[in-house]
Amino acid sequence: MLTKQRGPGGPAPSRYGNEETPVHVHGFLTEKLSLNLDKSVTTSATCGSSVTYGTSAPSESAVGEPGGCEGRRGLPRSLGWPPCSMTQSVVVQVGQCGNQIGCCFWDLALREHAAVNQKGIYDEAISSFFRNVDTRVVGDGGSISKGKICSLKARAVLIDMEEGVVNEILQGPLRDVFDTKQLITDISGSGNNWAVGHRVFGNLYQEQILEKLRKSAEHCDCLQCFFIIHSMGGGTGSGLGTFLLKVLEDEFPEVYRLVTSVYPSGEDDVITSPYNSILAMKELNEHADCVLPIDNQSLFDIISKIDLMVNSGKLGTTIKPKSLVTSSAGASKKRQEKPFDAMNNIVANLLLNLTSSARFEGSLNMDLNEISMNLVPFPQLHYLVSSLTPLYTLADVNIPPRRLDQMFSDAFSKHHQLIQADPKHNLYLACALMVRGNVQISDLRRNIERLKPSLQFVSWNQEGWKTSLCSVPPVGHSYSLLALANNTCVKPTFVELRERFMRLYKKKAHLHHYLQIEGMEESCFTEAVSSLSALIQEYNQLDATKSMPVEDLPRLSIAV
């Protein structure tokens, strides 16, 4: 199953804007989605009914003046000093796959915030991914920093060299969430050719890309991270997506670049996907701060497993439709028609959980800059295996602690990983556990102690655990866990990719498509593959230490 559709031909079936979509969210969001079902666009009506703006547009307000609505009940309106705002992130979704996943992400993000923020106040958590805009103000201004939510705009830049997916998004229920000025599209597509995406479109759209990125950065008070979503096997996501990385590094050197990359599986029907992937890998090696590799096969396996649970009625309980992992449509019959929807939702959940501790409060926070700090011991080794649990919610709510421990065990099971790999039989360099919900530090510690013996950590990082506790659980669950592992188990994926590449390259198959692009030479290929080989070699060296006994090194001796 692929997240990419085959070619741009024909109108793609609409994945949203279906009247059957049940909407179980509150307040402003209900209005927003139902509006779009009517296909009428009256954006001013997205404001809550109790707005008392008067005749003038609300200005960037001072502290504690929420434009007429009451502050949170019972709490002092203002603490008398300017509360600091949090950081913001910008999502850059590139190519077909990137945009489809991105779209799922924005949908889930809105639902999550709607569920958590019931009074419709534009707060710090929402501001990390959304702007609050007064749509009555013409032009680019009209950003409202506080007060009631008027109209939310995603901090996103959408890039695709075909129009199909982006057009679909702009006609769907999320169309008002995207700022039409933040799109870059073309019509011809990249033909599954990394060189076309990277060199041709890169050159063509460099200025525009810079402009849109700068704009999105300007709208941020304090921009902390770029989330890039793309696939590796095609042309646009792979080529243009990685071209972007270099642009981001030069233009915004202080801002993190966290890349979610969908790797092609063995049965990928795009013949040139190994070329595209390897060429893209070199860019990821050099310009990404952190990469979360995903593969379609794993996502498909997860969805199949969920289907199995639902259809077999094995446990005698039902799966809550509200569970974000399976929802936007929620009904299982839909899933058979559009499996990629559910698969993309998993990746969207990954991104939501990754940022939850930065957006919401908790007893042990973990900001985005801590991910790289703790999980990347050497600059090159920044590929993290992710696993997410739970994947579905059972209808019973009172889950005793034993189930909580099961959640931790699941996170280390291959069935919950978003990439095919075997961390348990390889070497951990570092591991992060990001917990959401009503979980305490003792639960976390108990489970680490329990699971530690079955995992192998590198000698110099025997206690290489980074943990975070966020109080706000995801919608539909009491708690959840995201595990990010820097583990040598990614090596086989890369080795296999290299093998597939070599099979093609040895025969020079399809090479002319690339070489005919200006600036492309065979050296591009050989450099890319040696970059990958160097990476594999680093993993090899670490693996070699696996069976060695852990000894303490001799310490400095001091004369007392």
Binding site: S363, L364, N374, Q440, E463, L556, V560
Partner: protein
């Protein structure tokens, strides 16, 4: 005399709140076991130390809150204000938007110099509010980036600006099994820098407090809130007013009159008036001990065991090495309570473990690029290792 508390980072702010809450609660505790006059003197002394003039009758904590990201400070301020019993000053907080990313180098070399002025101004304002400043109590963790790195930077600054005031740093020793992967690096950098600028390091280990919660208090699902409350309780029992051994009529004026580096108190729980000491062969040698007794029978307690020369080094006589402070006013709800603040070999093992782990990691150069990016070089690490090995050796040779 007053103490200005500096709460740094998530840990510092979360604990700081609990400390002020514990001090306030104890101060207004109905069960006192002493005369009304005694109690009033106690309350007045406590208030002078930790709280400043009230507006609308709500005392304001003598505290400065600092964090490099806003969530925790906002919550802390709100929690205090909501309680209605005490609160933080309106302008006593300083925060930024983006945290230190668990990076000591970032906290020390970037945030420190960048925000030196506003932070020190806040501290100065708070200090000026005191009739007589005893010193500073800085609450920070070692594992993260802000408490540790910025904490080290600020303490250094206080050393320069307020050289005649005492600086005591409350350090939170992280769990052995990671909270933060680079916690050992952050810890050794913090300790080595604080050694040069702080007067006293009061240490609490998360592991030890966790055990107290589990074994002594039987809490099933221990949260950071539980841990922080136990910690606050211990600190309260040390810092609340007492009389010194000289038997003066006023409560000790200098609550920070501890001249040496100190160690975790064991207390908070009701104990018998008489403590018997087993003469085991293996016990930690102390440089000095401070015992604080509160409640019933404090004057009749037999403290002979604490003066046993076997406990102390040969170069300091027990009479000099052992001090006791007392008050009949009970602490919190305990009829009798005792706190022991100790400068002893207790810390050698945990310190040795941290230095060892950091050294192993350093040998492989893992994560070093994250520090050199912000100006902390390998030599800085080596300097830290050297200093701490000396500390370990010195304590071992007591």
């Amino acid at each position: 005399m007053s103490i200005v508390t500096l709460q740094l980072g998530q840990c510092g702010n979360q604990i700081g709140f609990e400390v002020f809450d514990a001090l306030f609660s104890d101060s207004h505790c109905p069960q006192r076991l002493c005369s009304k006059r005694e109690n009033e003197a106690y309350q007045a002394s406590c208030k002078e130390r930790f709280f400043s003039e009230e507006e609308n009758g709500v005392p304001i904590a003598r505290a400065v809150l600092v964090d490099m990201e806003p969530k925790v400070i906002n919550q802390t301020l709100l929690k205090a204000a909501q309680s209605g019993r005490w609160k933080y000053g309106q302008h006593s907080g300083f925060c930024q938007k983006q945290g230190s990313g668990n990076n000591w180098a970032y906290g020390y070399s970037v945030h420190g110099p960048r925000h030196e002025e506003p932070i020190l101004n806040l501290i100065q304002k708070e200090a000026e509010k005191c009739d007589s400043l005893s010193g500073f109590f800085i609450i920070m963790s070692m594992a993260g980036g802000t408490g540790s790195g910025l904490g080290a930077f600020v303490t250094q600054n206080l050393q320069d600006q307020y050289s005649s005031s005492l600086k005591m740093n409350q350090i939170i020793w992280p769990y052995g099994t990671g909270e933060v992967i680079v916690q050992n690096y952050n810890s050794i950098l913090t300790l080595s820098h604080l050694y040069r600028s702080s007067d006293a390091l009061l240490v609490h280990e998360n592991d030890a407090v966790h055990k107290i919660c589990a074994k002594l208090m039987n809490i099933k699902h221990i949260s950071f809130s539980d841990i922080n409350q136990v910690l606050a309780h211990q600190l309260g029992s040390v810092f609340q007013p007492t009389y010194s051994a000289e038997g003066s009529f006023h409560y000790r004026r200098n609550p920070l009159g501890i001249d040496w580096q100190v160690r975790p108190p064991l207390s908070g729980l009701p104990t018998l008036g008489k403590t018997s000491l087993n003469k085991e062969l293996h016990f930690n040698t102390s440089i000095a001990n401070l015992l604080i007794l509160r409640g019933k029978d404090v004057h009749s307690a037999d403290l002979g065991g604490f003066k046993d020369p076997a406990l102390y080094t040969s170069w300091l006589a027990p009479d000099n090495a052992f001090n006791v402070w007392k008050t009949q006013r009970a602490f919190s709800k305990y009829e009798k309570s005792a706190a022991l603040v100790s400068n002893s070999q207790f810390l050698v093992k945990p310190l040795d473990v941290i230095v060892g782990k950091a050294w192993n990691m350093f040998a492989s150069k893992a994560y070093i690029h994250q520090y050199t990016k912000f100006g902390i070089e390998e030599e800085d690490f080596l300097d830290s290792f050297t200093l701490l090995e000396q500390v370990v050796a010195s304590y071992r040779n007591l």
